[in-house]
Symmetry: C2
Subunit: 132 residues, 2 copies
DNA sequence: ATAAATGATACTAAAGTAGTATCATTAAAC
DNA sequence: GTTTAATGATACTACTTTAGTATCATTTAT
């Protein structure tokens, strides 16, 4: 099981790359060179980050992408939410229906507690903190 | 993202059910009734638990399954390993290859640390502790 | 012999993840 | 004003994992 999918992982790299630049905007082609991420995939991903307000985008020649916020304000949990949905280690769906034992189930309690910890640890990680 | 898949979840329920019985062996049909898990799915799952040494099985009429160990010796991590493979929240595979940045990557460090915590918490949960 | 069980194994379906392709729109550069 | 290099929008394909089904062989109590 993975906590971070490819999308999120690539997004982190791209955002770190942008955070280290002080150019007004960086085109996808430059990032493809630097990060060796498949172009169409990176493009789609950056578009998503743009519509989500993480990036600003500039169309036309000499256009590209730039961070829309300070790297210390871009949280890993934002990216996870965008690309993977909410963090729910525990679903307990029972044949498409919410499980009737949810309130008493000890397994659920255990996993819920673990989930809380994981979220707590994830929620302090920002792009700034990943810059090294 | 899920920490526990359906297989593992069902296995926990089945094992808890068996732990509460003191019959020599319980046939699948009885468990299907009690747990409302699809029969062929439960069957396969119990067979797996049997070959993995978690359950004893008895063939022929009046046969069935029974715990092969004390419930306090059956660990949630065993079940996760059996049905989901090793817990690895962090893969960082870069286009089918192991990522070259593994040693320096801060994201990996963070996720590794979280994974360690999760494993620590999972590793103390046994069927006995889930019996309620 | 029969019936009720598991063993072994192959198959199908659904969902999530990863990646590609294409055409339209924009705006700087010439 | 035309060209060119960029993003916007959107649809599509492929792969992997998870979930679930089906079938026939074997065993054993009755
Ligand atoms: S059995 Fe459904 S929440 Fe655990
Ligand atoms: S970039 Fe590969 S381990 Fe993080």
């Amino acid at each position: 099981m993975k906590l971070i999918t490819r999308n999120t992982d690539y997004a982190v790299r791209a955002l770190c790359y942008l955070a280290r630049q002080d150019q007004k905007s960086v085109p996808v082609s430059e990032m493809v060179m630097a990060l060796k991420i498949p172009r169409p995939f990176l493009r789609k991903l950056l578009q998503t980050l743009s519509t989500e307000g993480i990036l600003d985008s500039f169309k036309g020649q000499a256009g590209g992408f730039a961070l829309a916020k300070n790297p210390s304000k871009i949280w890993l949990t934002d990216l996870i939410r965008i690309f993977q949905g909410t963090v729910e280690l525990n679903e307990c769906i029972f044949r498409k229906k919410i499980c009737p034992n949810r309130s008493t189930c000890k397994l659920k309690h255990e996993i819920d507690a673990i989930e809380k910890d994981v979220l707590k640890r994830l929620s302090v990680v920002s792009i700034a903190s990943l810059l090294s």
